[in-house]
Amino acid sequence: MADLRKLEEVEYVGWCCTYLPLELIEAFGLVPYRLLPEEESPEGASLLDPNLCPYVRSLVGYIERRRDLKGIVLLNSCDGMRRLFDLISLFLRVPCFLLDVPRGQGPAEIIYFRECLEQLVLWLEGISGRRLEEEALLTAIAEANETRALLKVHMETGARPSFIFRLMRDSFAMGREAFNERLRRLPFEERREKGKISILLTGSLLEKGCLVELIEDLGVHVEALDLCTGPRFAERVEVGDDPLLSLSRAYLTKPACARMVCDLRESYLERSVASVQGVIYYAPKFCDPYLYSLLSLRRLCKKEGVPLLVLEGDYSGRLTGGMRTRVEAFVERWI
């Protein structure tokens, strides 16, 4: 499949957080491109506080060097992302939109998020020079639903989590149509026998799949990839009279990230932790929503008698020797 980065006529809109309904971008004929820099940039270190998420700091230089972005949509997912928006707005010459995503999932929040999505539509109209056509939006939603359904089938038929992780990563740089085509043609992996040991891999941004691969290579099954770069997507968007409201509802009520203040995440973790033998937590350093959430995760693991391994990354994509040793030592208890 062609890597769309090489096609000049493609108009990209950068994004970072999975609470963004990509369908809206696609409905304008724009291509969402998830911003995942390869390494930390020195520009980020000088303009932002050094005690800030390394992913956010990496984005500064990366965005500055990208000349192919029509615009960027950032979400109010955390303090770091808010400040990144400020820096881009004030210093970098890239049109940027800040989409406020509520931390709750109630009716008032869904309506508010819908209003915010309407603002996003206006912004997209501005940068694309096109109007939003309802037909195009419904088509985008249908195609996105197909992606979700195909991914779900692959996950349920036993595809390795590292494979799913790689698939997700590939999708970030591919157009929807191309990705769906790829999913349709992809053979289903044979259902593998799960190892005796299952673990939950939970956290925020895992930049590369080497941690997942390491865990699998050690003979442990990753029961769920509860990560921002994993399959934490909306089940399906059920379109009603108001497609924006439908998008708002579907995205706000999808499997919750730790920045949300809701019971949904709590109950998901309770179910997940109860069904595994161990939990590995991974987040980049200074990821506050996940650092605070560790409190209840630790309590939950203690209650279930499930061991917990906490890993912090530096957004280098490398699995350090120390991290590798800790994972191996963690898994050894079951060998």
Binding site: D79, L90, E115, R259, V261, D288, L291, Y292
Partner: protein, 413 residues
Amino acid sequence: MDLRGLFPILRHGAFYRLVRPLVCLYVRKDRNPPFRLWVDFLCRLLGRAYGKEGRTIWVNAFFPVEIVYAMGACPFIPEIHASLVAYFNLSRRPIELGGVSLSTDICSFFRCAMGLLEDGILPKPDIVLSSSHLCDGAAKFFSEIAKLVGVRHAFLGVPIVRVRGVKERFARQLRDLTFEVAESLGLTFQEKMLSAVLEKARIAWRLIREINVLRRTRPAPFPGSEGLSYVAGMNFYAMGSDEGVRFFAALREYVHKRVQRKRGYLKHERWRVLWLHHIRPYYPNPIFSFLGRHGVSVPFEEANYLYWPEPDPTSPFLSIAEKLLSNPWYSPLADRIEIVKKMAADYGVHGAIHFSHWGCRQTSSGAMLVGEALREMGIRFLVLPGDGCDPDNFSAGQTLTRLCAFVESLGAE
């Protein structure tokens, strides 16, 4: 000093009722009526909270306490108590204890509050309420400690964007939350009670406005170090209370007298510097004495900027919604930059010090951007890394070296 031996006494409401007149008598010697009122307020509050005189509601610093007062409950702000503990140089142990549960990368005020909680020193809440501003901690920390304490956490998500109808919807959310919380706590609440509270908040607001104008005078009549401690404390804690009105009236009188006598708080003021961020190191430290010795006054601090419009008791929920939506520190940084530039001009400052508290990502990450805007105005700017609550994360030598260079740069103009 280890306070654990005193915990049984410190957890007794009667202790605060007993010490209140003694402490107030003691601080009378400073001839600072507002400070005495602050001490009095704290003793009353702690007496109420520990003495279980009615319901105690934990809130975060920017949560509208007006609502708590209107319900007839007692607000308790863990972050403020962490700063108090730091003020008495007693924060090391709770921070260490809190650091076992919470990462050391997290704000030390929250770690200190966690440690105080785990030591059992904080009064047990009946419910925890928090709003989303200013930071991830405001949402997540309170959510987590509510689970730890075993009480309900009710969260108020403040919209960051002014979309169509947001104020009215948010006011309705506030209203529903207030009635629901009052009912769950068995408290009687009527909207007219909030109106009565807002009437007091309006009086306090007008007094603050006067005080802030008086503080523009040269030489600076009131020190920023005190603005950052008990004035900010009352701002967070006492809006809508009788004590709040008395305090701000006394402060206004105090500042007005100094202005009339043309008395600056420094003997000789050479330079004026704005303090940016809501906090300062609260444990004993040489920052402000150093600045004072070099003739650098801090006439005003960002923490006490009056960012919200005059409260309107006739539409109490709308008024509080407007207050929360107006918070410039929970908006795009451009809003904060505008008010900083305004303060710099209003207070005629030569420089600004941005205190970048460890773990405070939402403020510290905007520091360089704020600095760029001030430099364009010809205002010297210093980012001063530090820790507001943890004395072990403070280096006097490094801090003074930076301040020394900064003061020299002021003199170089």
